[in-house]
Symmetry: C3
């Protein structure tokens, strides 16, 4: 059993929130329990798995049962408490956003410490992949257009957080401070974006393309 640390705790919160987001969508699609579990798991671990495959390190969740167990807890909670759990939109939104920040920091740090050695810009991309790819894989599996490409300031928040990580690191701040700056940036940006309905401009004016 891995020890419970500060980082593990937030990792747990983020995993729970990501899994719940997958399970909610699976239940809306009327998937069976095992299907809902798979979607929850993929949402929670998909981004980190893609990162680990790309940077060629052992897949994080295959040596540590935390993530598989945590998704199971999410599923059982939804089964027992049902609508009550699912309707806590605000709570899950906050947890999901904390998870996004955490996962971005983890992704950057793991890439910078990978044996292959990657440049900083690749680490920022991997931070974004860690945060955002799970939700994209989830949407692909449930056969929906990924939300992240259209309506949410989500992957962009990870990328900006990553740039701030780089700046903090470059001016010599220590690891912990750098991580906190990056994670908080992601979290605050997303909270502000949702509160003030801020989103990136769309590439418009190509309606003719739709009729192609």
């Amino acid at each position: 059993m891995p020890e419970i640390t500060f980082v593990n705790f937030f990792d747990f919160i983020g995993t729970l929130a990501f899994a719940i987001s997958g399970i909610r969508l699976a239940s809306a699609k009327r998937f069976d329990l095992f299907g809902a579990y798979i979607i929850g798991l993929v949402t929670a671990i998909g981004g980190g798995t893609l990162r680990d495959v790309l940077i060629d390190v052992p897949i994080f969740w295959m040596q540590n049962p935390l993530y598989v167990v945590c998704t199971g807890i999410s599923l059982v909670s939804v089964m027992i408490f049902g609508k009550f759990i699912i309707r806590q939109h605000n709570t899950w939104f906050i947890f999901d956003t904390i998870g996004l920040g955490m996962f971005t920091v983890t992704g950057i740090e793991k890439t910078l410490h990978a044996p292959n050695g990657y440049p900083f810009w690749a680490a920022i991309i991997m931070g974004t992949v860690t945060g955002a790819a799970g939700g994209i894989i989830r949407d692909v599996l449930i056969n929906e257009e990924p939300l992240v490409f259209r309506t949410e300031f989500y992957a962009m928040a990870c990328a900006i957080g990553g740039v701030l990580y780089y700046i903090s690191y470059s001016i010599g701040l220590d690891n912990i401070t750098t991580g906190i700056i990056c994670g908080s940036t992601v979290i605050i940006l997303r909270l502000l974006a949702v509160k003030y309905k801020f989103q990136l401009p769309i590439l418009k004016g190509y309606e003719d393309e739709e009729n192609k």
Copy 2:
């Protein structure tokens, strides 16, 4: 040319059945011949490929032409015998189910023997991935909601077979017996599930989520 063994024979049967299932769906979608071949191949090798990427071993089909050739045989058979082949629903269902059992056993054993060393629960997940992921990738590529999440007792049969593998192994049964118990469990469970229309409960009562 690899030698033909008992295991190879069932591997061949399973690959044929998985490839045919992909080619059938591709033909229903009016894909061209090469598209049908790709879908057939991905259905047959997708699960094992994902497993090999995740456990970081060389991809099984890239050193052995069996799978690529076998998918070609499936395609040519469908082209020549057409509806006759495609309508043998029961035969393909049996072959597909045998393949599912075989692939689950192969996936577990390959993971347990991987150089990285994985815990047993990860091997059970990899058995399920080997059996079920090919069909999921197929459904994603043809832009359909994966069937496995909703209407079939499919991935769950692999997971239960995997648990029985673990139990058989733990009480000291030899490799062959353990494999036979696991594979038969998967096969029997799926046959019974389809015959008696048994399926897992769905996560229901969240219709409001659908209107979100």
Copy 3:
């Protein structure tokens, strides 16, 4: 900064064209700027990334900023020049086809030189994956049925080019000539296929499957 060579130049052209094709489709779907960037990037690097994962070598674009920068240039060009850029259908079609030829050659050569050692047929498959998989991943992400499976002589051109690579190599032609023969074959086949509306036959006559 990597030096600019003849090969790099065509690689750049191909990347630009593939990225533009992704960005065009993303703009038709009204994705936001970051979503369009991601789709453009995935279209450009997806095939090579899948190849590198499958043959277990470091992912090509993570050590060389060319591809990430090049996708950025594509996005900015579309933002500034808008419809003017997007409407150059013929130019982009030519560039896209050059890219397809280049990527096929690169994919075959990289696989043949991979430390693991792969047979020639696997290299031909990897050439096809390098050329065609980016477009497939793009279509999966924007939730469309992949075009390549139905209406275009696209992956097939890569495969035929790969076979010609093998023949040229077998009769002892040097690397450069072999590459030029393979690449030109892919390019010419696709141009001819589009000009004369040539396509592979579809697997037809299974309308009953659609009503299943």
